[in-house]
Amino acid sequence: MSPLVNLSRRDFLKAGAAFSGALILGFKLEEAQGAGPDSEAIFNPNAWLEISPDGPVIIHVPWTELGQGVLTAMSMILAEELEADWEKVEIRKAWNDPRFGRMGTGGSRSIRTSWDPVRQAGAAARVMLEQAAAARWGVSSREVVARQSYIHWRGTDLKLSFAELAKEAARLDVPRDVPLKTRAQRKLVGTSVQRIDAVDKATGRALFGCDHRFEGMVRAVVARCPVLGGKVASFDARQALKSPGVVGVHEISNGVAVLANTTWEAIKGREALSITWDEGDAADLDSAGISALLQSKEADEAAVMRRDGDFARELKAAPTSVQAVYELPYLSHSPMEPMNCTAWIEGDHCEVWGPIQSVSWAEGVAAEAAGVPSENVRIQPTYSGGGFGRRLMVDYVREVVEIAKASGSKVQLFWTREDNTRHGFYRPASRHAMKGTLDSKGRVTGWSHHLACPSISGQLSPDRFPDGRDEGAVDGAINLSYAIDHVDVLYSMTNTAVPTGWLRSVYNTQNAMANECFVDELAVAAGRDPVALRREMLPADSRLLTTLNRAAREWGWPGQPPAGRGWGVACHASFGSYVTNMAEVSVQSGRVRVHKVLCVVDCGPVVHPDGVRSQMEGGTAYALSGLLREEITVENGRVQQSNFDDYLPLRLDEMPEVEVIALDSELPIGGIGEPGYPAVGPAVLNAVYNLTGQRVRKLPLAGNFKG
């Protein structure tokens, strides 16, 4: 049980005079089960509920709104148990504050870690308000009831608002183990209320990081070494300083910053810089070399991440064995809003505004760069124009604070699209050597997955995995959903100078691709239906099996695809949720076209049905985007792609029809931001095989599919 604390009774809050008389509940959000790889970007935040004697119900949401709808969804959960009037709840993006714990948004954690504690907090606050009202009226609490931000005296017309009761309620102890609403009692959770940001985002009023304007603010862009990991050797700023609007040029740890009155002037000023780079060690690095390096990794030298039974023996004994190798490229997050951040230092204080996923990590980095104590760093996470994991990294926060310190100015740092594409933290390239065995009845008896790829955490902290055992890298591989007697999961940590980062569903993007394409290959080798084979391997109580069965029923599997179309299936569990995808494809003019994707998802309780639908549609689009054409390649240590003319995301006319079925239940709640991604790609590749007989084992599809 997570601790609930009536913060209004705690000394450390007395400092905030604004809070006097307010009922303030702080509550710790839980660490999610199966949270995936740990990292600097793992969080354990608290949230706050604040009811002032003279104000609305205020909910401080410690999660960054990246488009996933968390401001709405978390607040709904709280308002439901509190019996607050949803229309009048005020939802605020929380500032960083030690009282919020370790803040950051990732790992599809927000709602699944909020679900229990937020409900408990809402219910506890409601009971305190009821007790306060009962005491005021001198009746038993059974005679009062909370509805729509009022406590009513049952059977009378009397009522008191939450605000009127806040002061008295704040003096009470926080009750424990308040019964939560049953499913049938919920009025808000499980409905698709309008998102709180819907209007602002349709009118241009929503302020993203780069939309904030501060008095006296200047703009900055940074020239960074085109070679990954390179540094400034020397530079000449004379021409840049003569460029119109340029007010300063400063070297920072990551390059040379040009400051100007407007963004355009800063961009033009940067073009006038003359820089000699120290290209460092990566100047010879190229994609072919990285592929060869991944290929050179031997299975018998890899770290054994999981070993059940004896796969080596089974491989020799089994009547049939199958092998396949899958190769996936680096991918760029490329959120639509480029990286940007605003910061200034005043005395020993530093303030930072920006689209930031890793708030607490950013706080530490800002403190270090500013040379101020971390308790003197204030961070306001803004609306974020997508993130997909890119804003878990805090490189841009360090940059802006360094510029603010060097210049003494209030600075808004801006990255162009080229900066974004060339200086990312990419989804790691990977190579998966798969082996499987079948018995004489076509049952899968053995499974071996040898993964070679960079370790995100290992590249960030080179000393972290001296034995190469990064559990994060094998997420989605070691926790294979299928029950197979002989299983090996092997990992060859292969770090390079290409920066890597967590991209939506992280290593599940690669491992699910390998798993689910390979299961399809095993089914073909066994002469079995791919759904039937999966059913046989999934435990009877598996939630993934439930989604598979539902998908098969909805889709009409097994069945005959329409003429000229192929069908494929894939399923995968990640971040506490279970997803089966089915896909229908055709080939037109040598190109794969995806017509239809079915997504059956079990994430336990569905807080906001349309929000879940939205995330699954989005996960589908992002996965297809990463499958069809996207690829980051490196030559001479330089990322070769630069903008949306050579890094090519999915467009509207390529978007398939997507049907989403969310199995709403009271089973443990799962995440929803990421689980929509992993099974889409393999379902499509399996459909391509179904149609054409061609196994595409190297991505992206474009260039590797021989139409």
């Binding site: 689009a621 467009r651 509207l652 006319d653 978007m655």
Partner: protein, 154 residues
């Protein structure tokens, strides 16, 4: 340097800017109309789309000079026009996720409806495929444009 005169959302502004400055940055950094977004700077993604004399243009590659003498409508001005039903449809269809590309989507849709009040699905797809969205809101964009078209016609 002669001042540039721009007419944006029905209001006339005189500005001392380099005439070669892209309209995008004039809108964002001089007029503080931050609804119009940068995302690529090379006319590939459509996030910066505004209407110029009822045509969808890319403000990232249109100079202030080129915009002079024309009627510019940005996302901030859309609700003052008869095309506001687009925004209503965007809200009721819950199109936005992160929302960053949506001003460009909306202004592209606005120009489409200006010229073609009854677009077919194919026509919507053809026009709206010019604007990137990384969140994957495409299906809802298609639905919302069709819905708004109906509303604008009636």
């Amino acid at each position: 340097m002669a001042p540039i005169t721009l007419k944006v959302n029905g209001k006339t502004h005189q500005l001392a800017v380099d005439p070669e400055t892209p309209l995008l940055w004039v809108l964002r950094d001089h007029l503080h109309l931050t609804g119009t977004k940068y995302s690529c700077g090379i006319s590939e993604c459509g996030a910066c789309t505004v209407m110029m004399d009822n045509q969808a243009i890319r403000s990232c590659v249109t100079t202030a000079q080129e915009a002079q003498g024309h009627d510019i409508v940005t996302i901030e001005g859309l609700e003052l026009t008869d095309l506001k039903p687009l925004q209503d449809a965007w809200i009721s269809e819950e199109v936005s996720q992160c929302g960053y590309c949506q001003p460009g989507q909306l202004m592209t849709a606005a120009a489409l409806l200006r010229h073609n009040p009854a677009p077919t699905t194919e026509e919507i797809d053809a026009e709206m495929s010019d604007v990137l969205c990384r969140c994957g809101t495409y299906l809802r964009i298609r639905t919302a444009v069709a819905k708004a078209a109906k509303e604008v016609r009636s």
